[in-house]
Symmetry: C2
Subunit: 305 residues, 2 copies
């Protein structure tokens, strides 16, 4: 699956992903006014997402859909989540389900079926929430990760997260000299060792926050076969000139997420004349240019060389 | 919320919880035969759960509902999950949503609303998947935990999990002399320090596997204010005589989960004459007796003294 992602990045010359993390409060006020139930909310959110995807599908290689923003609207939110994933894939986009799932093996198998595989129902096998990649949390070790890997799609394991308190546990030093996040990075390299594709990266990626440049740089060196999903650009404070350390010399190795910066762009004066979709598209193009310019200063003129 | 749980444990004299982790494959074969879609599956699973809850509500203080088993049936599974939580609460049971959610603060807030709080929808606020406790993963540190704590219900943070590979990360020693799980335990005590109730326990609990006696014993001593949710009894190999180390001298301090051992009891010869509900009830009673007997050998004659 990582090969397909890299090819989509080469095609669009865009190593960024639009985070479709749609809260009802991100929608235009006149739309919000008509919403009284979870059913209304789910429908309105999906319509909003559809407009975003229609404007973004040829600019970005992938979308990341954060499930928490859908779960809070109950089953109607989950319908909007499923339809958003399905619609994005219909439009040729790669879908990253950002669910940070984790559990013991037997339970992780259920999550793996839900997002990456299929569920047996009588004589049928059906997809619940079809995605190409899933974010997962590795605190439980290998037997909580294997069921996801076995689906032969892709995952991103939390290694160094972008939030202010990520260091409380992740930055602690182990007796073996590594930090907890470096140790997790080492596990991730190992878990991906059987799925290295033609560009040298495996289907087992890592979440590495754009907000921690120094740590990201270390991890890039230590995890040569691991593709990074990089949150924290924009609203969380991560800057293009910092996150270029996540890339290799060909401009591979990372995909950078922006959510509110893209999907709420229509609320900014700069983009407001363009409407919801037009604003998102222009914000995504501006983000792409920002990252490509930063890559150029590191000697990467074109992704893929 | 922990006070309510403890009072329910005193009332039932039962420190165990029934795990309603219902896969379609756990249902009687004749029921499975009629199931062709996710909608069929969701309906059949809820009917099965209803029978379980009707037979269990006066025997156990709480149920734990593992969401992965529902997510794999799409939105129809989530409807069954919601209805199971609602029905159990109607019957007076405390509901632990076992979702192991985790994310950065803004996203964790969405999960917190979904399971422990309410979501704003226009002028209304509505419950998505109403539960009393939620399991969470603390890898992201305090700002990923606070939104859950702020809901003023209860959480269980993964500390030492029951699965075979839990030690890969959790048992590693830090430079400060603690293991990763002990460090997490220390965080949990701190996160709960503002919500200690009348029995001396806080609303921030810990998941501590029944399969690791030595580690559980250490944690019980180190975490005097933390109530333990103990998975791993039965199918995973945890025994009553081992897990008594999770309890204090009054028989408080822990609640032990069994899932397959209870909900699939009707498939065992020993219980098969009793039907689905009757078998679950008898298995739950047998589990209760098993744990109470083990507690007696430690000098606890009655929970609550």
């Amino acid at each position: 699956m990582v090969d397909q992602l890299i090819e989509a990045i080469i095609k669009t010359q865009n190593p960024s992903v639009a985070g479709i993390d749609t809260s009802l409060s991100y929608l235009p006020e006149e739309v919000q006014k008509g919403v009284k139930t979870f059913e209304d909310a789910g429908r309105a959110i999906f319509e909003f997402n559809k407009e975003l995807i229609d404007s973004l599908y040829d600019v970005v290689p992938a979308v990341k859909v954060q499930v928490a923003y859908y779960e809070m609207y109950g089953e109607w939110g989950m319908i909007a989540f499923r339809k958003t994933c399905e619609y994005a894939r219909e439009k040729g986009l790669i879908v990253i389900a950002d669910c940070k799932r984790n559990d013991i093996g037997s339970t992780a198998s259920c999550y793996a079926k839900a997002y990456l595989g299929q569920t047996e129902v009588g004589e049928n096998t059906l997809s619940a929430f079809p995605a190409d990649f899933l974010t997962v949390n590795g605190y439980l070790g290998e037997d909580g990760i294997k069921p996801f890997v076995n689906e032969k799609k892709g995952i991103y394991v939390l290694v160094k997260t972008s939030n202010p308190s990520s260091g409380e546990l992740q930055d602690l030093k182990l007796e073996n000299g590594k930090t907890v996040y470096e140790q997790m990075g080492e596990f991730v390299e190992k878990w991906g060792s059987d799925s290295i594709g033609k560009y040298g990266y495996s289907d087992v990626g890592a979440v590495v926050g754009a907000t921690y440049k120094e740590q990201a740089q270390k991890l890039r060196a230590q995890m040569p076969h691991t593709f990074f999903l990089v949150p924290g650009y924009g609203a969380q404070g991560g800057k293009a000139e910092d996150l270029v350390v996540c890339f290799d010399k060909k401009g591979f190795g990372a995909i950078v997420n922006s959510s509110r910066g893209i999907i709420c762009a229509y609320k900014k004066e700069k983009y407001s004349a363009l409407g919801i979709g037009g604003a998102a598209r222009q914000a995504a193009i501006d983000m792409k240019e920002d990252i490509l310019n930063a890559l150029k200063t590191c000697g990467v003129d074109k992704i893929g060389g």
